[in-house]
Symmetry: C2
Subunit: 345 residues, 2 copies
DNA sequence: AAGACTTTTTTACACGTGTTAATCATAGTC
DNA sequence: GACTATGATTAACACGTGTAAAAAAGTCTT
């Protein structure tokens, strides 16, 4: 690194004897410059240390090549996997992803949206916070940018593109499976912090009624702020188990993290949930959290196709930002879940 | 949102009758402007839709107020917690964190570093990738920016500030505990993808020898690319257990994710690891992964103080970037782990 | 009401690159 | 050797905001 540092294209131009506009074109797209110039620039850059200024380049371009992504929280492997698939899809298409995490705080979420607007990102993908979100934030983004909502969908929001799991289908197939193979399941709800919680609950109820069974939902009222999903599942089931209730039931949990808490509650009470034990306790989840194959017992669940959701969201966004004018009409892509049968149910 | 959109300060100045330099000062720090002007601007902004251009503002400031953070991968709750604590610390100090994830790819890591340089971030914090990293990337960042390395430390790198867990201490106390309460533990190593793997292994060996026991390390040679930690722990122990080996041993795992795989292997072979069963199998981990209280059995481990590490790394970085000139000397902060005794050992 | 401040406005230049129009150099063709 | 493409260079302006200096306006003290 004894290379002399050069801070502007002007200086670089002087140092290697290539005009600044040519350098500008080179850094945007080397193919727009003749072969001989490319060679001259390449060899020059080896003798000298220079990086184009990020802000100066983006300020004038019509397109910044950046896509903003907002995620509600990171301490959940579901969202990190989603983020990864988004980033890979964006990278393949030549875009840079700027991620902001709202840490469950609507104010931070709103601020992140403003930041994206002020950065002139080419588009934005948002996984909503949940009930606490300010819907105006999404409307504002949707008005001013190519915008796609992902994972969960605030009911009253229309005219906004959406990509997520078809919870009617996904919750449906596992409800059906549980009914087919054992006793009708009860539903262990999760704190109502996001819209999917409600959708899955409704999907469960619908499917149960369709099959002629009475739906039973527990743990829905409890909304302990700051309590994690696992803790919620553990607390709710511990409570019932110690009163001797539901110890031989089939329990469909609103998601795998709740189910992991449920497994823990079962172990704590000496119960051994599992498909093999006919008539006994069974526990199932939703999402196919990466740890499902390693829990004790391994967790039966419905897999959300994270890779497909991320890819589809990015594809739709890029489609929108390429075809500026044709606003087209609202697109809603619901992606199927697939049953993952393991030991627990 | 019927507000007219205004795109430049010039237009805003004309629209609300406040001069552009005053507006500029207002957006940087409202207290640098008289109360009456603040009022006039506030009320003006309610009638009109304007956000200062991110790039134009950053381009001219000496300080961009941004801190770059590079994380090796996101599919690990340890790093997401670390990231969260970094972001909170930065937010408190008035900085914005730009996160880049290298997805275990040295090329992406190098590109992220270049991006930070071209963005003129005020400083950078990096959690290294591991063996595959190009050390020149860190050296380059360290030369040109206030820079702090975090979590794991490439041995041959000197002169670089570092904040992380004291693995000699942390691995020491759990090795000692396991020896004190039961049979001398063997060490289930993890794929050598990062430097901590080696540090913990060495710390275990040292402590064992100090206590007069023979260290035994298993699973160190296996380096399956793309295999996750849990799968590694599961595969290695499954192998031994099915040959009847180590079924009654104490097993210290290189981290909690490996330990979760180990628990799974135990369950698969009908073994019930736990502190209560004298003379039987015991399994312990390292990190205090958030799921430890929910595994079956709950996992005994050493907690890394993630909050302290993030805070200390950010504090040190901010200290460096405030005192530009005084390069000072290298600072290495090693933070103690604390024993978390649960059921598994 | 004059003087001493404080704050705002005006004016002008700066930042580093995108971009365009016109001029110039080079290579290839006949 | 003159003609035509092709690409490079030069010169100039643009982007939206930071910032500094000087002039103007407002506020407070006496």
């Amino acid at each position: 690194m004894a290379k002399p540092e050069i801070h502007t294209m002007e200086e670089l131009s002087a140092a290697i004897g290539v005009s600044r506009p040519t350098l500008s074109r080179y850094f945007q797209d080397p193919t727009k410059v003749s072969r001989s110039s490319v060679e001259r620039i390449r060899s020059g850059l080896e003798r000298v240390d220079y990086i184009p200024n990020f802000f100066a380049t983006r300020m004038n371009r019509k397109s910044t090549g950046m896509i903003g992504v907002i995620i509600p929280y990171l301490n959940d492997l579901f969202f990190t996997r989603l983020l990864e698939s988004l980033e890979r899809a964006a990278m393949r298409a030549g875009f840079t992803v700027i991620t902001q995490c709202s840490h469950s705080d609507p104010e931070i979420e709103a601020r992140a949206a403003e930041t994206f607007l002020s950065m002139n990102v080419d588009g934005a993908v948002v996984a909503p916070l949940g009930n606490h979100s300010d819907l105006k934030v999404y409307e504002r983004l949707n008005e001013r940018l190519p915008f796609v909502l992902m994972d969960s969908r605030p009911a009253p929001l229309s005219g906004v593109d959406f990509v997520g799991t078809d919870h009617v289908q996904s919750t449906g197939i596992i409800t059906e499976y549980l009914n087919r193979v054992g006793t009708p399941p009860i539903f262990l709800a999760m704190p109502r912090m996001n819209f999917n919680a409600y959708e899955r609950e409704m999907a469960y109820i619908t499917k149960m009624e369709e099959l002629g069974h009475e739906p039973v939902v527990i743990g829905a009222g409890v909304v302990e702020e700051g309590s994690y999903f696992e803790g919620h599942g553990l607390a709710v089931l511990n409570d019932y188990f110690s009163r001797g209730e539901f110890t031989g039931s089939s329990v469909l949990c609103a998601n795998d993290r709740v189910a992991i808490g449920a497994l823990r509650a079962a172990a704590h009470h000496g119960l051994q949930p599992g498909a093999m034990r006919q008539g006994g306790l069974r526990i199932a989840g939703h999402d196919d959290y990466p740890l499902c194959p390693f829990t004790v017992p391994t967790l039966t669940t419905v897999a959300q196709d994270v890779a497909a959701i991320g890819q589809a969201a990015m594809d739709r966004l890029i489609e929108k930002l390429r075809a500026e004018n044709s606003q087209g009409n609202q697109t809603v892509q619901l992606i199927n879940g697939t049953l993952k049968i393991r030991e627990s149910a």
